[in-house]
Each structure stands twice: as structure tokens, then as C-alpha cells.
């Protein structure tokens, strides 16, 4: 499932830099495109779907194979975001990893129409990511106002993410088909 690191690392770095340079200028009101989150959610789902396709059933190793790819993407992408942010290092990584874990587990366990699942996971992933990130900010002593942020950033961001996730998912699906190298343990 995993593509080459020579693709993954530069791709995630570019997404992080885009998030820090172009995304704030493309905001619609207070809603910014959250491309790193959408990339992690999409890749976690692709990994989960692939794990199920390989018909390893409900065995734990196959579940972890499906989840680990998204978690690794979340860690690398989150660290890049943290390096570009004035927030605590590791905050984005933690938030994205927990999101990837949740999306991966649901993606492996739940069957259904994939387009619906992608959109649903984008919404759930947005909520999980922002709540975990705010929790980390609060734990590190920064003031947090959940109710204000929910109305100002989280809900508008979720709506924007729902619009953008099909394009991001399709793009990564094409990338997955071209670059994946399945590792079979014989």
C-alpha cells in the first residue's frame, strides 16, 4: 500500500507549505481549506479500503496494516505543520494521528458506499482533529474557547472540507494507483 518515501515526504511538505502560504488567502470567511487534514483522511480511507480488498478479513494484523499508513502520513504531515506553526511542536501530529486512527478503524470495520463514507469521514475527521488540537493547546496553557471556535472555525471549516474532500480523495486515489508498492509477507 505505501508509496515511496521519496514521494510521501515531499508531497506532505508541499501540502504543509501550501497550508501556511496559500490557504489563509483562499479562506471563505473564517473557513480555510484544510488540505493536510483532508489528505490524511483520504489516505487513511484508501489504506483501509485496500486492507479490506486484500481479504485478510478481520484479523488484527490486516487491520493495523490498513491503519498504519494513515497514521504515518498523519505523523509526518503533522510535524511539518507544527514546524511552520507558532503552536506546540507535536500538536498537529497528535491531532492528525488520532484522526487517522479513528478514520482507519471505521474505514476497515464499516462497509457501505465509499463516496458516502469519504464525505462522512471528512466531517467526523474535522471534528476529531480540531477537538484534539484544541485540547493540546489547552493542556499547554493556551486560552481556548470551544464554543466560539466551534461556530467560527470548526463548523465552517467542516462545510468547506466536505466540498473539497472528493477532489482530494480522487487525486490521492490516482496517486495510490501509480505509486503504491504492495509488500506481501511470504
Amino acid at each position: 500500500m505505501s508509496p515511496s518515501p521519496y514521494f510521501t515526504i515531499p508531497f506532505l511538505l508541499i501540502v504543509a507549505i501550501f497550508q501556511a502560504t496559500a490557504a489563509p488567502r483562499l479562506a471563505i470567511g473564517s473557513a480555510r481549506p484544510d488540505l493536510m487534514l483532508l489528505s490524511v483522511v483520504s489516505w487513511s480511507l484508501l489504506a483501509a479500503f485496500r486492507a479490506r480488498e486484500l481479504e485478510y478479513g478481520d484479523e488484527t494484523p490486516s487491520l493495523m496494516r490498513g491503519i498504519n499508513d494513515g497514521v504515518v502520513w498523519a505523523f509526518v504531515g503533522g510535524m511539518f505543520l507544527d514546524l511552520l506553526s507558532s503552536g506546540p511542536l507535536g500538536a498537529n501530529a497528535l491531532a492528525l494521528m488520532i484522526t487517522a486512527l479513528a478514520v482507519g478503524v471505521i474505514g476497515v470495520r464499516v462497509s457501505g458506499a465509499r463516496p458516502v463514507l469519504v464525505v462522512l469521514m471528512a466531517a467526523i475527521g474535522t471534528l476529531i482533529y480540531h477537538l484534539v488540537y484544541l485540547a493540546v493547546l489547552a493542556l499547554t496553557g493556551r486560552p481556548v474557547f470551544p464554543s466560539v471556535y466551534l461556530n467560527r472555525f470548526i463548523l465552517p471549516g467542516m462545510i468547506l472540507n466536505l466540498v473539497l474532500v472528493p477532489a482530494v480523495y480522487l487525486l490521492l486515489m490516482m496517486v495510490d494507483r501509480r505509486t503504491s508498492r504492495e509488500r506481501l509477507e511470504w
Partner: protein, 278 residues
Amino acid sequence: MLNRPRSRSWVFFVLTLVAVLALVLHEAGQLQPVEDLAQLVIAPVQRSFDGLVNSAGDLFGLFSEVRELRAENQDLQDENNHLRSENIRLKDLEAENITLRDLLKFSRNTPNYVTLAADVIGRDPSPYLNSITINVGDDQGLRPGMPVITGGSALVGRVREVNPRTSKVQLLQDMNSAVNTLIQSSRANGLVKGQSDGSLVMDYIPLEEKVAAGDIVLTSGLGGDLPRSLVVGQVTDVTKRDIDLFQSAALRPEADLNRLEVVLVILSFESSGPEPGK
């Protein structure tokens, strides 16, 4: 027959441990050398990307008009393309020139200040944190806490993190920002803080002081970490209740914090000398 793939359930827990460790070490200030090294690699890419984004926005309008004119006359269209590209470039230079003239005027009016111009190359990717990244850092003499202004001596924020060639500036509207200020007309003291919605509020104004919409708010210089009389903003609304100990005022920031392109870092200043806001 395929063997069962190896379980890698430890990956999530190991990476989580690494992330938590990074969090703790960052808060303890132990990861600065690592972050500096990473910024050395990332900053040039970020600068280049920011330049590409700016160019793409300028070129978009040109291409649609080029397609219409090309059908009529290819020769005139080629010359038109050249002249329009030059015009866009010159207009961009003109806008930059105006900004830099404002900054130069500030520098000339405050000879006792040592300043350094910097380009804004990025903003914080988190919507909950208000900061910008500028293309100067420790190598150019920056230190945490240095004030950052824009044209017309308007305070933008303060340097928060410094890497060898880049720095992060905490903007006034950040929730963790607090600046000692005073009302220009009444000389009433207060504290300007960023709010969760990105606005500015001046708090702790004594009830007996006169504050009205339109009043100019300046830095007071209390504490010695900021020069006096840098322009912070203008009062738009006053909240005063008898049951409160203090009154507060909503402010419109003097600097457009969402459209920063070039800023000035005040590397050093003396408390005596001409006041920049007057």
C-alpha cells in the same frame, strides 16, 4: 499459501510516544536546535512557494484577456502581452515602493531606532493562532520580544520564535498577545489583548477615564519591552458598566493584519528621542 502479515500494532503507539515527547521537549525549550535545522531546510522552499502563489494570482487575469486579443491580431497580442506583464510587474513594484517608503520614513523619523525590513513569507496554518513568518532571523540579529511594525509606525506584533533565517511574529490579534497602551487624548492606561474572534480589546481602563469612539490608542512603553507611541488602533466602541471595576474598549487595528507583505523589525530602541506616532 500466504503467511499472515506481521502485526504492526506498535506503530501508532510508538509514533504517539514520539509526538508526546516532542511536545514536552518543545515546551521545555530543548528542541530549538532541531527546529532551527528543520527551518534551514524548509524556509527556502516556503519562500519560493510564496513567490509562486503571488505570481499565479497576478497572471490569472492576464491569461484570459490574452486569449481574446490573440484571435484578432497575433503581433499586437505579443506586444500587448509584453507590455501588460511589464505593467503588472511595475504596479507590484510601485505598491512595494509605497510600503517601503513608509518604512523608510519611519526609520528616518526615529534615528535612535535600529530597524530591519522583512518580507512576510507565511502565516500560521492553524486558525487558532495568529502569527506570521518573516524571512529574517537570528543571523540578522533578531531576538524574541522585538516589536514589529508596518508603515506609519503601526504595531503589528512581537517576535515570538527565532530561527537562523526565519522568525515567527505573534500578531496583536493573537489570544496570547497583551500590550500596555494608553489613549492618546486622555492618556488613560490600559492593556490591549487579542480576542478569540481575532479582534482587539483594550481592557483595565479605569472607570473615571474618558474614552470615546475615535480615540487613538498608542503603546505606553510601560515595562520597557516596546517603544512608546507606536500606533495600535482606534477605539470603535466602549463598554462601561458601574458594576465593573474597569471599562473596556473595542479597537480597530491600525495595521491591516490580514494583508501584511513587508514589515519592519525594531532591533533596538531608546526610550528618549522623537516619538514615532506623533
